[in-house]
Symmetry: C2
Subunit: 281 residues, 2 copies
């Protein structure tokens, strides 16, 4: 792998916010590839795409999902993303509709300069996803890469503080979040999205870089809120929130070697050392 | 207890933001009492005061703390707060400097119309507090009251997602947070405080009402950031953030009986039912 020097160096992350179109995986994959190449051209080494980026989100039936889902890493989208990662020497995380053993998963693929690295399957399914997908059965894996230790979470996973806590305790430094955020009840569309608040809090509490790539547009009546975000391990945004409705690519350059320092808040406090595991059940 | 009917009714919470003065417990207690009476006069039934409200925060020495700390519930501040709660028929949560068994704790007292209810001792000590206080040894108690099930957390406790998660899993509906928030590194004082972001996220993720009473002013060179906040169980502010430097009393009226509905996000999702305890370590 030619990427070994990255670890000690700043890493540029790109979050691609775009509008997949339900039922058009060939066109979606072409749109993804186009934007991955754009991000690579400006120096991105870790590129994050939305949830279910190749299939679209609002399925009418299991039959429709069956026509769109594919295996990871052997399906068409997975193979293509791995080939692009190899060609460009970049790391890619993208949501994909996965089929495995006759079951469907709302998954994220992780691939890099050496090809396929691993898969994450969404643990917490949102709303009608429960009609179509199985709950994730691969836990919360963390992959050690030349860029840093990378974990994944998908959309509603971020509503559970355990998601980021577990990833952090397992050593994650960067969490990539393919997402299809929808409006929350009571959310004033003029104020900061709750999704952003949750990920800022998670980044701050866990000393994690979090890179969220959301989709935009309205699909079969379901609006999505955009506002993709790259959050520093301090909890403050490094890039975004992006537009609520327009496509965008966010960029931020991070230095994972600074994490130990960011996690030590002062002479007495360390955000992991201060945990009271003796009290938490 | 005359307050049994409250549970089915809206409850008005008051968060008192004021400026304790280090080393003047008599004057601080008088200031607290004055503001508690103000809050009661406008209908508050649950009144929250800041961390270490009777002692001040920046101790020069253990000897100084020793001269300011008192037992709970037998010390002067604790007895006075319990007497006021009895007289007015209100519930009060206040930070107090506690001494017990020759040790000091950064504690919160909870008292109500029948007097003393319980004590919480801060689990996670911030910065130089570690020089003076013992870490809390009473866990995260939840008290069943006619207003609802009430827990407490103090300042830096809120940086640990486990704090609110544990309280919620133990049945808490309202968490009262006496606090002395200080500026976080990298915090732009013009933007929303990270403290507020953390408590909005915690309220949203756990379906909890959270009432934070901060102090203001600068004590021995240590500034405090005000911005007290009462958060709905949706995560959206009901009152505040209050001023960054001025005293204030925030009021919000909540209805804990609405919580089951707020915690059920749609036909398929329930924020506790969706937890993947099978995956979390």
């Amino acid at each position: 792998m030619t990427s070994a020097p990255y670890k000690k160096q700043p890493v540029t992350i790109a979050c691609i916010q775009f509008e997949p179109v339900i039922g058009t995986p060939v066109a979606n994959l072409a749109a993804m590839e186009d934007r991955i190449r754009q991000a690579h051209a400006v120096g991105a080494k870790l590129i994050v795409l939305p949830e279910l980026a190749d299939s679209g989100y609002v399925f009418n039936s299991s039959e429709e999902l069956d026509s769109l889902a594919a295996p990871i890493p052997d399906g068409r989208s997975a193979r293509r993303l791995c080939a692009i990662a190899r060609e460009l020497g970049v790391f890619i995380v993208s949501g994909l509709a996965e089929v495995a053993g006759g079951r469907f998963y709302n998954s994220a693929i992780f691939c890099g300069p050496d090809g396929y690295i691993g898969t994450y399957r969404k643990l917490h399914l949102w709303n009608r996803e429960n009609l179509f997908f199985e709950k994730g059965d691969l836990g919360l894996p963390v992959f050690d890469t030349p860029l840093g230790r990378i974990g994944m979470a998908i959309c509603y996973d971020g509503w559970f503080p355990e998601t980021f806590r577990q990833l952090a305790l397992k050593g994650a430094e960067i969490v990539c979040v393919p997402t299809n955020w929808v409006p929350m009840p009571g959310q004033n569309p003029e104020t900061e999205a709750m999704a952003n608040i949750l990920h800022q809090a998670a980044a701050h509490s866990n000393g994690l870089y979090i890179a969220c790539a959301d989709r935009v547009g309205t699909e079969r009546g379901q609006p999505f809120i955009g506002q993709s975000l790259i959050v520093d391990a301090t909890g403050w945004p490094l890039a975004g929130p992006a537009s609520r409705q327009d496509e965008a690519i966010l960029y931020a350059t991070i230095t994972p070697t600074q994490l130990p320092e960011k996690r030590k808040l002062n002479e007495f406090n360390d955000i992991f050392g201060d945990r009271r595991a003796d009290v938490y059940d």
